[in-house]
Symmetry: C2
Subunit: 115 residues, 2 copies
DNA sequence: TGTAAATATGACTATATAATCATATATCAG
DNA sequence: CTGATATATGATTATATAGTCATATTTACA
């Protein structure tokens, strides 16, 4: 019960919710992508990602200097279902739609600078 | 997005989670029932219920001195789905099973004292 | 009207969370 | 090894949350 509550608490912040929805839509994102989309300082983004990692929502994959975050594949069954529910409703969340759009724009010009 | 985050935050406390799962199983509960099941002081229970009410998770029905809490019927679609997901997993949450059992025990002897 | 019972709330304390600056760490290129 | 870049973290401040005692409010009923 405490574990489930902590899991929900990790989602109960608007920024982390946006991050999770972006990860769900995109698959893998690094910190600098999120800084661009969320328009937040690097340390703020990094701390939210650390919170999500502590709460078992995300895993990381290191590639050189870049660290890519992705939704954890082995999260508990209830988390997977919660994610699916969020996904079904993401299209009705204006901020989520806008975030996905601005991420797409950002990624389109990114390959010149980053892998 | 902020509204959804606040909605999730209301569920992200172990005690409120237990309350919501009890309401889902039982339908209507009053504060004194919850005091018995959760073994917490009246003010603590009352504050958690107020939090759930502020977050649109529960409605109340007054019957004399007793105030019965129930899950809000008109909560948003995503909340309804979240509840269904929780319900499907409640049987796997030992605390939830125990709470429902102790509530049943408490209610069995309650009619003598309360309506 | 006055009392008792159920619930709500003010006031306080302790703890957790969130934002942010400055700094540290890790990795790669040269 | 050195510098540059991406990310993490220490320290600080502001705010939110949670628990709890004491007290207020609401309702029923004698």
């Amino acid at each position: 019960m405490n574990h489930l509550a902590q899991t929900l608490k990790a989602l109960s912040d608007p920024i982390r919710l946006r991050i999770v929805l972006l990860l769900q839509a995109e698959g893998e994102i690094c910190v600098c992508d999120l800084m661009a989309v969320l328009q937040l300082p690097q340390s703020t983004v990094s701390r939210h990602l650390a919170y999500l990692k502590r709460s078992c929502w995300v895993d990381i994959r290191r590639q050189g200097v870049w660290i890519y975050y992705q939704l954890s594949a082995e999260s508990c069954a209830i988390c997977q279902e919660l994610l699916l529910t969020l996904k079904r409703h993401a299209a009705a969340l204006p901020e989520s739609v806008a975030d996905r759009k601005s991420l797409a724009v950002f990624l389109k010009d990114k390959p010149a600078a980053c892998p």
